[in-house]
Amino acid sequence: MSLPRVHIKTLSGCEGCQDCLEHSDQFVPLLGAINLVECRLLTSPVDTTILPGDIIIFEGAPNTNHHVKELEEIRAVEGVLIIAMGTCAVFGGVQANVADEDLKEVHDGKWGEYNQTLELKAGAPISRYVKVDAEIPGCPIDPEELAFIIAKLLSDGKPREFNHAVCAECHRVGCLLNDKELCLAMITVAGCKGVCPNVSRGCLGCRGFLPKVDIEQFVAMLVEKGFSEKDVRRKLNFYNAHQMKQEEGGNV
């Protein structure tokens, strides 16, 4: 049996997820189980041809028409598996938090003639444009989770779903919210081992919000606790600006 062909492609992002993957203990064993045909950081020449059945791992968020076209073309190839790797690919990430007036500056040419031609938009989840077969959130990802999901996909298994809050993975004695530190752990999907709140850094929600959470009620609770609404909304928008715009009824 030939090894599955895998492409790692980058949209708009920092490549930290790819860097994490390549420096992980899982990477070299993974190379024994897949045929990595495209990964610009490590290979030259790269094989960008998408064949039926290829696995395409995307990091970064689509934010130009070119990205959207690329996604649509790849999705149209029969039997491909698309994996969204990292918070940018799954939720839009930090580049989703771009104000319309800033995009207008780019469209008006204040960021150079070339950028003007790109029809830049706010970053969005890949799933806004095409069907995604697996999503691995996290800024950055946990390479163990990626290796696990690839193994599951190849064996027709179901990836593990986390449906509890980061609080369940936080070992801190006493809640950060009582120490005047804004923390989104209560509404955020677990799976990160509570890495931020465990060192007293407020959770920023990089793994996305739990599906049944009432965000407005969460905001109201924090405001009642003495946090400013502006500060709370800024945290909610840090990684999840795309979802927040949808919650507000915006057409994004």
Binding site: C20, H23, P45, D231
Partner: protein
């Protein structure tokens, strides 16, 4: 100009009438084995070269995303600029905020930040000089072929990279986007056993680094390096007055043409002069010449007396001369820096252990009101000088500007190509060989467009004139 070896004409030349095309267009949409999308477009007509190098990745306009940030959030956003160089982005950002607010981190925090910087240099320099650049010297397609052709080298590289990675992971809490780092200090510190284990691994890996240094040196022959000298302006940090240190996390702005000055909110723009070229999604910079060069070779040229005798000896063994205007010597300079950082890491970790590690409360920042404050942070990322400048109103950012290494180096890549391309054509090199050599010039600069905008794809087409 360093004359290419004549036998290349026979090896790669197309010869005959094709050797001097009336017109040649080179269009590379993305260079492989680099971080980010870099486009190379040049045309040559009657020995006149016109064209440009620049990033084509969609911009992330992170400087705009940061506006509105609380000062504690700015360094978190900054460490999302680039997953590879997140440590220097964090440090430049934290410094900018600290300078604006008048906070000074403790000695322990400064020492840990220096360890993180040196560990990043170790990891990034080794990765670039071997996995990304060595395939050029050995004419291999990629890093994976290196694993088959030179398994011992590959094993050492993985070991050193893992060491750099683990140093960052243990001290910052994560290998990408460390969670304990913050403005003014650290939210948590590693325990002494963890640091002692790291120290033991650093000492153990020094002989591996020496072996790598020696083996790497055996690859550095002129027919592989294809060096040429173009006199240029090198920009880097230099140590503060009276300090004898090879600077990564603090220092003055230093130009090989105009000397060293302390950088301030008021003067930094006159040294960077950022501008948007026509065919680029990222900003370029210039100083007194048409372009500047930053990175390992720039640091080494400006700080030769501070790198230490062992590293100087290795540099000399590689044939690095001072001043050295050959960009092909940048990857060798990276190996020399990584070698030096192994000694620095030992000394830093010993110092930290000698003083004992303690959790230190963060400095208290009082009510900032609505007052406007500004601060600049300046550090060396592995790829070169990095500046973050913020304006705060009270506790919140109202403006951010970042000058990243690759933005400073695009002009240098462009000027190198303009300088050498006519010579390559005169030599009658084949299409493939010219593409290879131009890609090598780009890669020798170790570009990372993620910072400037985001990743590089280089597709090269050479169309011969009618």
């Amino acid at each position: 100009m360093h004359e290419g070896h004549h036998h290349h004409l026979e090896d790669f030349g197309t010869g005959g009438a094709e050797a001097e095309p009336a017109e040649m267009i080179i269009d590379i949409t993305a260079v492989p084995r680099t971080e980010g999308d870099v486009k190379v477009h040049f045309s040559v007509k009657d020995n006149k070269v016109e064209g440009a190098v620049g990033p084509t990745e969609a911009p992330r306009i992170m400087e705009k995303v940061m506006v509105g940030d609380h000062y504690n959030e700015a360094p978190i956003h900054a460490s999302k600029f680039c997953g590879i160089c997140w440590v220097p982005h964090f440090e430049a950002s934290a410094q900018a905020v600290e300078n604006a607010l008048g906070i000074r981190p403790t000695i322990q925090t400064q020492l840990f930040r220096e360890v993180l910087a040196q560990a990043t240099v170790l990891q990034s320099n080794v990765q670039h000089a071997t996995l990304l650049s060595l395939p050029d010297l050995l004419r291999l397609p990629n890093a994976f072929s290196l694993a088959t052709s030179h398994p011992a080298v590959f094993a050492i590289v993985r070991k050193l990279e893992k060491l750099g990675n683990d140093l960052v992971k243990v001290i910052s809490g994560r290998n990408v986007g460390g969670v304990v780092l913050t403005v003014g200090g650290m939210l948590a510190v590693p325990n002494e056993k963890e640091v002692r284990d790291l120290l033991a691994r650093v000492i153990d890996a020094q002989k591996d680094m020496a072996t790598l240094g020696e083996v790497y040196g055996s690859f550095l022959t002129p027919d592989r390096l294809l060096p040429f000298a173009r006199e240029r302006e090198y920009i880097s940090l230099s140590p503060f007055d009276g300090k004898n240190e090879y600077p990564y996390t603090r220092g003055n702005y230093c130009s090989s043409d105009t000397g060293a000055v302390p950088i301030t909110v008021e003067n930094y723009k006159s040294h960077t002069n950022e501008w948007f070229p026509k065919a680029s999604t990222g900003k370029f910079t210039k100083h007194v010449r048409n372009s500047v060069t930053v990175g390992a070779l720039a640091r080494m040229n400006n700080n030769w007396n501070h790198i230490g005798p062992e590293a100087q000896a290795l540099a000399k063994a590689y044939g690095i001369t001072m001043p050295d205007y050959r960009i092909a010597m940048n990857p060798p300079a990276q190996v020399v820096e990584a070698y030096a950082s192994m000694f620095e890491l030992e000394a830093l970790l010993e110092t930290i252990l000698f003083h004992g590690i303690k959790y230190e409360a963060l400095p208290i920042v009082g009510d900032l009101g609505e007052k406007i404050r500004e601060g600049v942070g300046i550090v060396e990322a592995p790829r070169g000088l990095l500046i973050h400048h913020y304006t705060l109103q009270g506790a919140y950012l109202i403006h951010a500007n970042c000058v990243v290494p690759t933005g400073q180096n695009y002009g240098s890549m462009q000027d190198d190509i303009i300088f050498i391309l006519p010579e390559y054509i005169r030599m009658g090199l084949s299409k493939e060989e010219i593409i290879f050599r131009l890609e090598k010039i780009v890669r020798d600069h170790d570009p990372c467009s993620s910072c400037a905008v985001h990743f590089i794809l280089l597709l090269l087409k050479i169309l011969k004139g009618k």
